[in-house]
Amino acid sequence: MKNLQKLTLFASLIVVLWSCNDAIDIEQPGRLGAEQAFQSVADLQLGLLGSYATLDATPQIQFNSVFTDELSIGFDSGGQGIGNGEYGFILNPGSAASTAQWTNFYASLNSFNRLIEAAALITPADADEQAQLNEILGQVHGLRAYINLLIVTYFSTDYTDDGALAGILIDFVPTVDQLLPRSTNGEFYSLIEADLNLAQSLLTTQSDPIVVSQDFITFMRLRMAIFRQQYPAADALAQQLIPRYPLANRAQYQGIFTDADNTGIIFEMQRVLNDRYDGQGATGSGFAGGWAGANYAFVNGTIDGSPYFEIGRSLFDLLDPADIRFDVNVNNTSIISPDINAAEDFRSEDILVVGKYPGDPASQPLLNDLKIFRAAELVLYRAEAAAAAGNINGAANSTAAFLKELRDARFGTDQPLPMFANATEAFGAILDERRIEFAFEGYRWVDLKRMGERGGRGILREALDCAINGACSLPATDFRFTLPVPIVETNANPDIQQNPGF
């Protein structure tokens, strides 16, 4: 009898445990489910700040530098650029450059589309909230246009061909099993246009360098027109913006790259201490993702900062010490060999330290804002439009005049008016000027891609810089002036169309 009681007790203990679900239904502390994420306009505002933080131009800066003639291998190289072959023009679907751009662009788009879809479900409480919602939506659509144009920039073979393929067009939040084909440039341009129109109707801010403003939208229209070689329209758009964005003077220009000055900045990606990009990132890799200056050096922007990439000699030779851009691009601790061909140890006798991203030596070296749209480009776009219209020479409204205007500002003195024999020379001069003006800002490869052939320019390195691997030149018509669709996409989406040559 006694045992029976014990048995009953024991059995009931088992039953109690049987119903014990506390071991299984565990809600981990500190989790925010997707369905609870966006419930108010204030949440959307937080989401918008998160969306901005997905923007990162450092992979573009890295690729445009190492793959072209902006760089040479630094004296403190640990194999960066050589090991992965980027410096040897090795580009394939497994390359970091194509993987980083593609995945970053689509991660941004996913973030924007989630915000747009969430916003549709939120009813603003009052007029103030409605205004805030409009501002948020305007900015997100502007950002989406920006990323979509980047997809065209890097993955389309020909910007002027509306029938050429760009990337996957996505204006919704996909499900994980969706596999979509690529769309054409034309379809991309239509969505970009629609986003820009909507943004323009919603935004109230005219100008603000760190957020999407009306001027951002106008600049986007301008860049798209330039890429599509719709020059008259482009010229008109440039003229709209120029009065509000004068060229910086020499002091201001230096200040721009130490983040002390915002003259002529239409848009930049703000980088501050302790933000998501405050770190070294992947050094020497196309994934980058940290301080912009860490694309070139490990520690800081001086000779003691362990520069693993240095300024390519062919670019350096274009820089005039009287030009403020010499001071900005070449750090003053550099060792400049008077005659590189006479050097016994070229690597240690000619150390040209990239000076564009010094960061704040008193706080965080190498950490700088990433300048995305600058006033100089307005003038250079006008120069391009003039060349396309046949106005290559002359004291006003000509390619020569616009180039002189920019050089006057950079030298601080009156510069000679160039003379061009033909359009090729003019385009070539624009390319050379852009090479100096936008060095290390992620332009070189894109510029060669869209204008190299017209200007008779390609990648050309100084012989000593390419002795290490023989990769000295590459014509702008090479298939590697379009990125391949990366393996990470084709793995999942094997039917997606690959770019020619890969």
């Binding site: 014990k6 048995l7 024991f10 088992i14 445990l17 049987w18 679900n21 506390d22 299984i24 239904d25 565990i26 981990q28 500190g30 989790r31 925010l32 489910g33 994420a37 949440d43 937080l46 700040l49 998160g50 933080a53 403190d76 190289s77 640990g78 194999g79 090991g83 072959g85 497994g94 593609w102 689509y106 788009l109 996913n110 973030s111 996957i168 996505i170 996909p174 760190i210 703000q270 501050v272 201490l273 302790n274 933000d275 998501r276 000779i303 362990s306 140890d345 690597r347 008193a362 706080s363 002795a467 691997n469 023989g470 990366p486 393996i487 990470v488 996409e489 793995n491 999942a492 094997p494």
Partner: protein
Amino acid sequence: MKSKLSWLITPLLALFMSFSYGQGKTISGNVTDQNGLPLPGVSIVVVGTNNGTQTDFDGNFALTASVGQTLRFTYLGQKTENRVVGASNTINVQMEEDAETLDEVVVQGYRTATKETSSIASSTVSSETIVNRPNASVVQTLSGQVAGLNITAASGQPGAAPRVTLRGVGSINGNTDPLYVIDGIPVDAQAFRSLGNNDIESISVLKDAGATAIYGNRGANGVVVIKTRNGSFNQKLSISYSGLLQFTSLVDNGEYELNNSQEQLLLEREFGNGRGVGLTDAEIAGFTTTDYPNFFFDTGLTQQHTVNLSSGSENATQFTSLGFRDEEGILSASSLQRFNYRTNVTGRTSDDKFSYGANLAVNYSQSDEPNAIGTGGINRNIVLAAFQSVPYISPDEYTNGAALLSPLSFANTPLFIIDLLNTFSREENELQILGSFNADYKLYKDLTARVVLSGEFRDQIRTTVEGPTSFNALLFAGGRDPSGFQTQSIDRQFTYNQVTSLNYNKTFGKHTIDGGAYVEYFRGFFQNFGFQQFGLTPALLSPGDGDAFIADNPNDDLFVDTVFANRLETGLFSYFFQGDWDYDTRFGVTGTIRRDASFRFAESNRFGTFGSVSGRWNIDKESWFDDNAFDVLKLRGSWGVTGNQNIAITAPAGLAFDAPDLTRDLFTTGVGQGGANSLFLNQIGNNTLRWEATEQIDIGVDFEVFQSKLRGSVDVYQRTTTDLFLASPVSSINAVTQLNTNTGEIENRGVDLTLNYDILRSNKAGGLNLTLNFVGNFNEQEVIDLPTDDGRLLLGGGIALEEGGRLSEYFLVRYAGVNPANGNLLFLTADGEVTENPNVDTDRVFLGKNLTPDFQGSFGFDFSYKGWFATTQWNYVIGVDRIDNDLAGFLNPNNIGQFRTSRDLERAFTPDNRITDIPSLTAQNLALSGNSDRFLQSADFLRLRFATIGYDFPSQFLEGTGISNLRIFAQGENILTFTPWRGFDPEVINTFNPAQSRLFPTPRVFAFGLEVGF
């Protein structure tokens, strides 16, 4: 069985009888063993009373008892005998050896069986092969001892957890460690750093599904059941001490032919990069060569002391152990110190209805653990400096960190690291408490209720300090003055496990039935918190102390601290049944079924069902199977399905807490634009998540032949893992490029073989004994199914999967030597044509090689004669291929001027030396070598893993000294290695990043020890 039954019934009878008989008389007698020799110390009690005695030195005893009372004779290793007092005043007893205790008890998971009635595939390693082995981690000691258990060292760091796989690799992304259970406490591989080895009585490795299905979705990778020692009933207090003194050193197996200073400088001069440029021959001759491998690696001294006290009375036993180990690693700044305390007690009621045991171990360890090992951090990785430093830079050039800032030269690597050793510390303190309690109560004579409650508490404090005057601190100071940082991270975890069961055991004639119903409940709590403080005042600096912290100034925010905290919970709930039927110890069948629920799959697949059936046929028990050489012949077979719920390794917290809610779409907050707080997606959920399932078939034979001189077992198995948790590629439009899903299938097939052969066997004490041992496993893997359309899945690092191929196979462009025309590298295209410019994507081929051995195991001998004993264990591993990136570095011309290179470069192509295996130093396609198999090398090895020689002093020497036994011994580990691998240690590998080089090699150990018993 008969005696057991009467033993069960006796208490009731005795209680009843004692009322009838009251007259006591003196009973005397003599107790002998099976050979007729007197047995001293046999415990004799009058059952049901406190009356008892022990036999004297000659086996004689005398005590008072009444007619009809029962005397119980117990002695360790002998069968318990009961005698009812009758008319005679003399009772002489000859005891029999107890096969059940001497023939090892086979752990079956939640129960035990005898060797004969066990139908599972398992191996047991006894304490003799564990105690005093000179490894801090007992898991490391198992290397080579169990057929099918592959143990790969991850690091030479004292106490580092090795990677353990059983019978091939059963998972790709999930955890492949077996489940470890210490005295009923489930723990992970990290639990052994602080655990004392000498407390362990036995380790059983459960291998087939018949054994592991009872562990449900934790059993797929095998189960390692560890029992710690207990005292014996009726045992006098025995005290023993053992001490170990060991010397560890770098195995100087590096066959890289590294340059000395002169060779290095001449090469630099010739190549035009580095300090050698511009030096005269005389200047070069003046440099000395610093042996950096032996500068940063040094002989380590280790001492270990253990004191054990064990005793037992009629109804209680205790075992207490105190241990201390102080180990210096061979690498600078690596060490382990630990203190262990353990008490195990057991008790029972005198009617044996209720028994219990309680185990408590408190372990504390403190280790210095260098980080960044394996990385390319020239300012962080001490191993890199040891291997790659140019030999002409002398350690004497070091003054302080500031002096290294300008010019910042990579060649100064050794000086960076010398500075690191002076200014950086990384220390881990761990407190571990392991406790378990078990109790059995016999509800009826056949029915027992049992409960096992157990828990592990672990508290780990990791303190990292970078001194403000260090090179690294100054280098990354930015505007901070002083710079430097201190990071402290505290992990605390508690896991609780409870098993409640009812067990039924009954014999009907020749049939014995044993069954159990179980409920298991597991719960775990993890908490992490810590901070990183930037800015330390040099004068006040002390690791772990905050007095040196510099407060933030809001004007510049240079000293903003980072704080972090994390909490995780885990849980499992299961119920299961096991039934075992035995017929006359000739046949037996065991069936297991388990329903298992894991918190990990609560929202997708709540309960999983696992189970197994196993059977045996003890052929040697058949009457017709006499008159042959076989003493034992048993055929076993099992089939079953187990699961692996540890499908992903995501959190630093450890397995139990990994991947806590992969089923959910999650957002989180973090730094957004301009440093503002923001909200973003951080996880896309998978709502079909489930465990990985492994189906295993095993057929085995256990045998003993020639008077049991040759003993062994052979098992053939096939393990098929389905629902493999693999990264399935998804389109980038999802913001990720892969999502882990349960898809894919792999198979491991193989043979386990264990053989022991007594060449010489003596029946006398002190006779000559020599036994040869062999342990072997052959395993092959095949990828059956993958989630991609083309049947391939790239895993990165030159490794991929292909249906029909091997697991994690190398997928690289084939290197084909040097072009005699220009010194460039030659490769093969996918079609086998020679080219200088292969397509690094499409010209890759599967090479049929991987990291998992085909054959591995050990062989050796055990020898004893007149107190002398010796053991050797040679481990062998065949079929392992690794990319030697250390070699790649030593042959990389881009390293000339910065790092040490190999003499092999002297053979480099020049127009005068066209036929060579080393490409031109300026080869134009050198970058492609990293995409090829140029540095893929065999890492097979044969290694004298362990050897010991020692002497047990005979008891006559010890008489009158108060010492009951005395043993001295010397031993060694990793004494000799034969391998084609050119690196320092073929065994050390980062299995998560197999191409990683600059790893911390395992040391060679020589140890001297002493054991004294009182």
